[in-house]
């Protein structure tokens, strides 16, 4: 159970301020999710590069170990924020580096990998997490944030949203899936590995699998309507895109606002209340079982 926020900037001029707009949205949702918070940010693309975001599990672990492992494939020093670091590495080496990090460096969690995505998540209140990460300073084209109250799984960094199960893909979820164990087994049978017990990770992996099998974001979400059961509001991020889906019963809250400059999402209206131009924005609550997608041109 949680709070979700999302911001998709149509106006490129606002990109340096992405974090500045996002942090108040996130902190306004603290009461819905006091256990942990996380954000996914989509920054500028870089050719032939994969960015890997890592969180360290213990304060003693240093990112030097990762730098040493990455070696020549890393483009310069990582960008460190709090207990997270973003390494930009050669795209060609990414698969191997990721596999080696998972196998050899258990002190680190890979939270995201992709050309543009970075994911930061930590236990604590949204204000604490945003402060540690200096999130106000982050820029980009779109971002998704989440504040968490744990339901059927533990309060850990790994259990925090957003979940990333594919390159540049992430998902945040407010609600509770009712058939996630079965879905997990099906996906596991197809070779998907899971890091947590969390139902939201199952939803993320499901969508990634659909997209890996050739569906686009919209198609994947439409498939989800048939295969996923339970109560959910999803906000999904991809390299260019930002999507929202509510289940057919649509009890979990969702409010959206759109202007010429942005599309915004919040679990409650007050998450949007400080955005520029909100007074004149089109504000609506997404319809049930309806896929909404916004994408930047490639």
């Amino acid at each position: 159970m949680c709070g979700i926020v999302g911001l998709f900037l149509k106006d490129r001029g606002l990109e340096p301020d992405l974090g500045r707009y996002l942090v108040p949205m996130l902190t306004s949702m603290a009461a819905r999710g006091p256990d942990s918070a996380g954000v996914a940010v989509y920054g500028p693309p870089a050719a032939a590069t994969v960015k890997i975001t890592l969180a360290r599990r213990t304060p003693e672990a240093t990112f030097d170990a990762v730098a040493a492992l990455a070696g020549e494939t890393a483009h310069g020093a990582p960008v460190v924020r709090g207990d997270h670091a973003v390494f930009a590495i050669d795209a060609a080496a990414a698969d191997e580096i990721l596999a080696r990090i998972r196998a050899e460096l258990p002190a680190f969690d890979v939270t995201a990998a992709g050309n543009r995505i970075e994911i930061y998540k930590d236990v604590g209140t949204p204000a604490e997490v945003a402060g540690k990460l200096d999130l106000v300073a982050v820029g980009g084209t779109h971002a998704i944030g989440h504040t968490r109250m744990a339901t059927e799984s533990a309060v850990t960094v790994n259990g925090a949203h957003p979940f990333s199960t594919g390159r540049d893909q992430c998902l945040v979820h407010n609600g509770s899936l009712s058939n996630h164990h079965s879905l997990r087994r099906r996906l596991a049978h197809d070779g998907v590995r899971f890091a947590t017990d969390n139902d939201s990770e199952v939803a993320a992996a499901y969508l990634s699998r659909q997209m890996a099998n050739g569906r686009d974001l919209r198609g994947a979400l439409e498939a989800a309507l048939a295969d996923l059961d339970g109560f959910y509001t999803f906000v999904v991020g991809t390299e260019r895109g930002f999507a929202v889906l509510r289940d057919p019963v649509a009890c979990k809250p969702a409010v959206m606002a759109e202007t010429d400059a942005y599309v915004a999402f919040g679990s409650e209206y007050r998450a949007l209340a400080a955005l520029p131009g909100i007074a004149a924005a089109r504000v609506w609550e997404p319809a049930p079982a309806t896929v909404y997608v916004w994408e930047h041109a490639a």
């Binding site: 306004s28 009461a31 649509a250 009890c251 809250p253 409010v255 409650e268 209206y269 007050r270 209340a273 504000v283 609506w284 609550e285 319809a287 049930p288």
Partner: protein, 233 residues
């Protein structure tokens, strides 16, 4: 209202608890019958549980359950309202200048809720006598299991209007995306036109002709089970 006489409460400095306690004071109607609340910032449970004929203007957006269980008070929200505005209200008036989120007027027993923007899903769910007037649209499952009272929608209604309806009366002027289980259109009678006219007038919704509305009510087939329409459940 007489702004000069209003008691001003600023939620940037006054805790919500203190303000609600002031609204609940037994002599509030004598001491401070008019209020202006500033900086609500989407606060939840603001002005809930009032039982006095006081008037409150709220300058900004409110969160969940604003004016919940209201009795006698007039609460005017100059902004948007979150989930459950005026839930279980028994009497009084609640006005939302902007939009109302889900479950507006839920299980309301009486009084009037006037939404000048649009209301989201489940507007009037489980209504038990409240009157709800929405200038804009309502979302899906409006008046779900509505038992009594009147819902007037000047705009469109979403999917599943009046699902599992009892005796609440629904009037929609615009398009209805779909009707819920056991909800059917019924003829608009002279008395219905009068009801519409009176409520619209009370809400100051001028230029809206009662004759443009369609009436919806319960088909009453779920009142007594018959195995042949078990699929309706």
């Amino acid at each position: 209202m007489r702004t000069a006489d209003a008691a001003i409460a600023d939620l940037d400095v006054m805790p919500l608890r203190e303000l609600n306690a002031a609204f609940h004071a037994p002599d509030v109607a004598a001491i401070a019958p008019v209020w202006r609340v500033k900086n609500p910032h989407g606060a939840h449970a603001l002005a809930c549980g009032i039982d006095a004929p006081i008037a409150i203007d709220i300058d900004g957006h409110v969160g969940y359950y604003c004016a919940g269980m209201n009795q006698q008070a007039t609460v005017h929200i100059h902004g948007n309202a979150g989930t459950g505005v005026a839930e279980n209200m028994a009497s009084g008036t609640v006005i939302v200048d902007g939009d109302a989120s889900q479950s507006a007027g839920a299980s309301g027993l009486g009084g009037l809720l006037h939404v000048r923007g649009s209301a989201a899903a489940r507007c009037g769910i489980s209504m038990k006598g409240i009157d709800v007037v929405v200038r804009g649209d309502v979302g899906h499952l409006a008046a779900f299991m509505g038992q009594a009272g009147t819902l007037i929608v000047c705009g469109d209604a979403g999917e599943g209007l009046g699902d599992s309806l009892y005796e609440a009366r629904l009037f929609v002027r615009g398009r209805v995306a779909s009707l819920g289980a056991d909800c059917i259109e019924k003829p608009l009678r002279e008395g219905d036109r009068a009801t519409l006219a009176a409520l619209l007038e009370r809400c100051g919704e001028h230029g809206v002709d009662p004759a443009d509305f369609r009436r919806y009510g319960s088909a009453r087939r779920l009142y007594h089970f018959h195995v042949d329409h078990a699929g309706a459940y």
